[in-house]
């Protein structure tokens, strides 16, 4: 239809040429990048002021083995605890009672000011190591250290998929993070763009331009044009972000990692990786390998795009019906709950879906159109059979046809209703008018 395409064009151009759209589209990925780099940067800055810790060691055998790190520096003190506690210009006082090797319960750290987790972790790790060594020495068993080292086990579990054709190495930790990430993106888009449809319809109704438009266009076509117009804005935005993401995954990741790791990463990608000989954590190498493979990312994002569009269409129709019924955004807040609650529920369910992607609840919710966009995204990185994805998508699209049909009926009546705050019951009555 020529007129629908005109409506779509207008809607698209108006939104895409907005400054705020351009700024958000470009700044968002930069912001995300910054957020992921920020913790590392902050660590660097915060570690520059090495914390001086005074050690009061009554055993005399522990303090000599404490070694300075980026986070902490140690200085031994011959003072008793009480007098050491008067020192306020140091980061803190570590007290090791005389019985510490036998019984660690008396060990205490008196901090001047808040204690960071880094410092606490560092102290505990060092003390554990040292006390363990002291105990081994006291046991008088020959070669105990050697024996214990031999006994010590550190499993790096490599997970394979046995039910699919390709025998790819997977990391469930990565799937977990990716699942939540994808579900969050869907949640954000559905909520933001869905409400955009609603407020845009309210605005048209409010400034009465609607009266003019409907003299040329059927109300239902106007509604659909608006929904598709805004959908295309969402698609353009996500495509730009995807392109940037693919660039990062293809070029930036390989460039910033050490070359030895990259060779192991390629080993994973080639299927010749052996965890036992690796000098890096197997999970981490796997993660990098997966993120660095453009094909994997591309597949995932493509499916996400499909669900994003279908899910948006489904919810946009509901938001459109609500928008047509009210006169201002304040009045809409109550009604829009109807659309927002299932979206939020979908996100909440996603968190449980990433814990157990095959649970009955997760599987069911990834078919129900109200929650499927989010929950399917959460399950997707764990490797879902193609037919499941397609079935869920088909259900979603079919449901959109239903919500669009219903919304069209409500919209037709709603846009001419002024002066009364409608209830859900009113909307129901309108939908049944001929």
């Amino acid at each position: 239809m020529n007129q629908i395409s005109l409506i779509i064009q207008r809607e698209f151009i108006e939104r895409v040429s907005k400054k705020s759209f351009i700024i958000v589209t470009i700044l968002m990925p930069l912001l995300m990048l910054l957020l992921s780099v920020l913790p590392a940067l902050m660590m660097q800055f915060s570690s520059s002021d090495g914390r001086n810790i005074v050690v009061v060691d009554e055993t005399g055998v522990i303090a000599p083995d404490l070694h300075d790190t980026e986070d902490v520096t140690f200085s031994r003190s011959a003072q008793v605890l009480d007098s050491a506690l008067t020192m306020k210009d140091v980061a803190g006082i570590l007290y090791i009672p005389s019985t510490a090797v036998e019984n660690t319960s008396g060990i205490a750290y008196y901090s001047n000011g808040p204690v960071s987790m880094n410092v606490e972790g560092e102290l505990q790790a060092q003390l554990n190591d040292i006390i363990e060594s002291r105990r081994i020495e006291r046991s008088n068993i020959e070669n105990l250290r050697q024996v214990m080292d031999d006994i010590h086990s550190d499993v790096q579990l490599l997970t394979f998929r046995n039910d699919t054709d390709e025998l790819s190495q997977e990391s469930s930790a990565l799937s977990f993070v990716l699942g939540i990430g994808l579900a969050l993106v869907l949640y954000m888009f559905l909520l933001l763009y869905g409400q955009m449809v609603m407020s845009s319809i309210i605005e048209e109704k409010n400034n009465r331009v609607l009266e003019l438009v409907v003299t040329s266009v059927k109300p239902v076509h106007l509604m659909l044009g608006k929904i598709f117009g805004i959908a295309s804005v969402a698609v353009v935005q996500i495509l730009i972000w995807m392109a940037l993401l693919c660039c990062i995954s293809a070029f930036v990741i390989p460039a910033t990692l050490p070359t030895e790791m990259m060779s192991e990463v390629s080993a994973v990608q080639a299927g010749t990786f052996d965890a036992a000989t690796s000098q890096y954590d197997a999970d981490f190498v796997n993660t990098v390998a997966t993120l660095g493979s453009v094909g994997y990312i591309f597949n995932m994002l493509f499916v996400m795009l499909l669900f994003l569009v279908a899910g948006f269409l489904f919810y946009a129709a509901i938001f459109a019906a609500i928008g047509s019924a009210v006169e201002n955004v304040q009045d809409a807040s109550q009604l829009s709950f109807v659309a927002m609650v299932p979206i939020i529920l979908g996100l909440v369910l996603s968190f449980s879906a990433v814990q157990d992607p095959q649970s009955g609840l997760a599987v069911a919710c990834s078919y129900i159109p109200l929650t499927s966009p989010m929950v399917m995204m959460a399950r997707l990185p764990f490797g879902i059979a193609a037919w499941e994805v397609i079935l869920s998508l088909v259900i979603l699209v079919a449901s959109f046809l239903f919500t669009a049909w219903l919304a069209g009926k409500i919209y037709r009546v709603g846009i001419f209703m002024y002066g009364k705050k409608p209830t859900l019951k009113d909307l129901w009555h309108w939908s049944r008018q001929a």
Binding site: Q3, L6, R10, E14, E204, N207, R208, V209, L210, E211, L212, V213, V214, T215, S216, V217, K218, P219, F416, H429, Q433, A434
Partner: protein, 310 residues
């Protein structure tokens, strides 16, 4: 006589809680200016929406240009709603092109036509401005252009003069007359009765969802003044003037004007004839003019609406 451009026959429309139109019929002749009158809430807007194919009637038929009205016909209708509104953040020119294209014009056609109108109204410099930068009156002008741009056969103006200053209102009136001369048929919905007297050929008065009065404006005004005449006299005439016409009239009043002339208004008895009246008046005074009285649309409106109140 040619067929009417628009014929609405026995149209009814009810909403959940009330009847908006009840067996409504009107005929709008080709090339006429047709007034659609009625108190607020009478059903005018519903009728206009049905003519615009926005709402569908429950029963009855709308015939446009000889065939039942379809969605395709709206390209030949231009509607200026009472509640004006444009996309605030869109530029004037782009917006006008958008609406013209919705009505089926190509972009090039739209631009050519728009330039003509913008030059005529001397508003070329608004082309690149956003609507939010325009004053209310300016936006109204733009909206008027949008309404008429696609040269519709039928134009529907809902309170077109509201929000315009007298100069611009007059300019608008000239444009409407000009459009009629070019062949457009115009439906004109308003509460301003003097403008109805001035520009409408025919009217329909709607009250409580029904057509309570339809017809030619002059005819109606006369009908409501049946047997009433207005006689202009050079002076007050002699003392016998009023007594001499008393037998043949139901009512008579003499008003003295500032310039010495007077106006005699009479209501002739049904059985008396006009010639006798003229003879009687002529005998006792100097007649300057003799006219049928015409009721004002204002009086007719109030009269009819009150008498048909349910």
């Amino acid at each position: 006589m040619t067929q009417p451009l628009l014929k609405v026959s026995h149209v009814s429309k009810r909403f959940t809680r009330h009847v908006a139109l009840d067996d409504m019929s009107i005929e709008v002749p080709q090339g006429s200016i047709y007034g659609l009158l009625g108190p607020n809430g009478a059903g005018k807007t519903t009728l206009i929406r049905i003519i615009n194919h926005i709402t569908l009637p429950d029963s009855g038929e709308v015939v446009f240009d000889g065939h039942p009205l379809t969605m395709a016909d709206v390209a030949h209708i231009g509607y200026l709603p009472e509640e004006r509104g444009l996309y605030k953040k869109m530029k004037v020119g782009e917006q006008a092109i958008f609406f013209a294209r919705l009505k089926g014009l190509s972009r090039a056609q739209a631009v050519t036509e728009l330039k003509k109108w913008f030059e005529k109204f001397e508003i070329m410099e608004w082309w690149g401005k956003k609507v939010s930068e325009l004053s209310k009156g300016m936006a109204q002008k733009v909206q008027f252009i949008i309404t008429v741009l696609h040269r519709p056969k039928l134009l529907i103006f809902d309170e077109p003069f509201s929000g315009f200053d007298p100069i611009n209102a007059n300019m608008l009136k000239e444009e409407i007359m000009e459009l009629r001369r070019e062949g457009s048929t115009i439906i004109f919905s308003t509460h301003n009765m003097s403008s109805v007297e001035e520009i409408c050929d025919d009217i329909t008065l709607i009250n409580s969802s029904r057509n309570v009065l339809s017809g030619n404006v002059d005819e109606i005004r006369r009908r409501f003044c049946k047997d009433r005449y207005v006689i202009g006299l050079a002076d007050e005439g002699d003392k016998l003037l009023l007594p001499s016409i008393e037998p043949m009239t139901v009512e008579r009043t003499m008003e003295r004007n500032d310039d010495g002339t007077s106006t005699l208004k009479v209501h002739l008895s049904p059985d008396a004839d006009v010639r006798g009246l003229i003879n009687a008046v002529n005998e006792h005074g100097t007649i300057l003019s003799f006219n049928e009285a015409m009721a004002s649309m204002n009086d007719i409106f109030i009269n009819v609406v009150e008498s048909t109140r349910l």
